[in-house]
Symmetry: C2
DNA sequence: CTGAAAGCGCTTACAG
DNA sequence: CTGAAAGCGCTTACAG
């Protein structure tokens, strides 16, 4: 046998039709469950038997060419290494599988990469596109719309666009602040995410709103900006430690930053939680094993991915979608948060 | 405009042909760079202009139906949350893009999931399949072969199969042991990976071979088994600490396990590296920020993904492939390894 | 109840 | 140098 397809010709509808002694169209309609098909039970059995015996599976390309539906949804993320996206992918994949759809995940972390990825996707490779991460521009979205390709922003919004599904980042920030306030903290800093990140802006906004709601001051020099990486979190935590006065707690915008922040505290000899409580957005098994074990806010990321697929599949491409996923969101208390030093002394 | 395709009919070859005033076949041959096409430069320009003006992009389904090539390769991984696979995916994606191929990544962590994923993939969705992780059985591979779908195991081998690309896990283990021996250690334990994992078996084998090569004893009760997670590493490290006598160093089979192992050492009050050196396979930015910063062996994971795609695309499906990727592999020394206590005292 | 036909948009061997 | 034709494997409206 020569290299190449490595096997015999695939079974087609014609093969099944011959075997079952009916027309190809009958097979097709039986398999697609056509409700307008009238067929004798005995014929239907013959068809099903033939399909099973020959191991027939429809040719995807032929079906797509005919129906203009690929049964594939695309998901574009900036970085596979970010566990946040891993969770989103899992939820999206599960939802896609439930609708007999394949999920085609790709990564792009620069505008040029994104464009070449869209080129690669070509015409008619996917029925719709979920766009996570920050690099999507208005121009790209307009291009997709012009191509007739439905899209939906996931975990981000874009000014003037009304096609997105996000988490309640404001509420996550509020939960974190309330946890700290509940422990007695009043001097609470914020290690924020990058300026370009929509989630970072909303967590920052949520932090400020929650501080205000508790009559606390969100000091400007106690809000420093990381970039959602451990390295960035390390640097941003040092900035907070170098500010005039020292907060007793810090709300960190994501888990990777918090790992760097804990490192910065160790390197300056600041004990956590004795001298500084730390709470971060996103819960992962890892958090349990850090030193100290990290208090987190668990976010419904899987649910976010799931809803992305559902909305993309169900809502017409011209309709507005502005959904905030309200899955389980809660503080997971571990060792990194405790009452502030002054309260501890009194105990 | 109604919901649905959300736009006008897509541009087809016929539209371009009309615009350029030539037959459809000419457009097709110009675009595919048919070497047997004789065409006047001026006609070729007209064709190219028409393609550009109309923004023509070939319909993937029609092309696939005709050529039997999808331009898509599949990659099946067990878990998106594992950063090892994130790196493999990145390498594979880059190599696929270079060959104008799309990479369709999917996850399955149980045999039933795998089968339903393959069903979902259907017939003719991908030109070949890369299989990473442990769950692939002989039966699945035979099924793929029967379907005429080329496949390649990535980061694992399977007895009796000769279609795989792997890393040199034995060498990684040897590098780790040599690093420890170079620091003066002779009592070296091994926190292994799960029994089912091919990489774990090879790292274990490499550890034993390297110990032997240095005239050292690999004590059986100093080899404990984790499961490549932080939780498993925590438990397996406790087992080592509970053994008779205590090693001065431990070679950990992967980074997630090492995070748990460091936690176990802290919880027992064993100082690292003063009382116990730790080195683990796989380097990630995270390692720098652990406490202590973790010494690792950096593995060429991206290169592994890249070679997987290259080999799948280039080697005929009937040919044997047994490749060991020889990318950059090196010890990245950080704080978690140091000379053993007895040597330190003498210094 | 079942079959025959058209056509989705390409590519390619062949005709001129 | 360029065009006409066949056919990849489906689905679906229609004919009987």
């Amino acid at each position: 046998m020569t290299a190449g397809t490595g096997g015999a010709r695939r079974t087609t509808l014609a093969d099944v039709a011959t075997r079952a002694g009916v027309d190809r169209s009958v097979i097709s309609r039986v398999l697609s469950g056509d409700p307008r098909l009238l067929i004798r039970e005995e014929t239907r059995q013959r068809v099903l038997d033939a399909v099973r015996d020959l191991g027939y599976r429809p040719n995807v390309a032929a079906r797509t060419l005919r129906t203009r539906r690929t049964g594939t949804l695309g998901l574009l993320i900036p970085d596979y290494a970010n566990p946040v996206y891993a969770e989103i992918i899992k939820g999206a994949e599960a939802a896609a599988a439930e609708r007999d759809c394949v999920l085609l995940t790709g990564s792009a972390n620069a505008a040029t990469e994104l464009n070449s990825y869209l080129d690669l996707l070509g015409q008619g490779r996917v029925d719709g596109l979920l766009l996570a991460g920050e690099l999507t521009s208005r121009a790209v979205l307009d291009g997709l719309t012009a191509d007739g390709l439905p899209w939906l922003l996931v975990n981000r919004t874009l000014r003037g666009e009304a096609r997105h599904v996000v988490l309640d980042d404001e509420r996550a920030a509020a939960l974190a602040v309330e946890h700290l306030v509940g422990l007695g903290h009043t001097e609470i800093a914020h290690l924020a995410g990058p300026n370009g990140a929509d989630t970072a802006r909303r967590r920052n906004r949520g932090y400020r709103a929650a501080m205000r709601a508790h009559g606390l001051t969100a000091r400007l020099d106690w809000t420093t900006r990381g970039d959602y990486t451990a390295d960035g979190g390390y640097r941003a935590m040092l900035e907070i430690l170098d500010a005039r006065g020292r907060p007793t707690a810090v709300f960190v915008a994501n888990l990777a930053s918090a790992i760097g922040a804990l490192h910065a505290l160790r390197s300056r000899g600041v004990a956590a939680p004795a001298q500084m409580s730390v709470i971060a957005v996103h819960d992962l098994p890892l958090a349990e094993h850090l030193s100290p074990a990290l208090t987190t806010v668990r976010m419904p990321l899987r649910e976010l991915g799931r809803r992305g697929v559902e909305l993309l599949a169900e809502v017409g491409p011209e309709e507005a979608v502005r959904e905030v996923v309200t899955g389980p969101m809660q503080v997971v208390p571990r060792e990194s948060t405790a009452p502030p030093p002054d309260l501890q002394e009194r105990m």
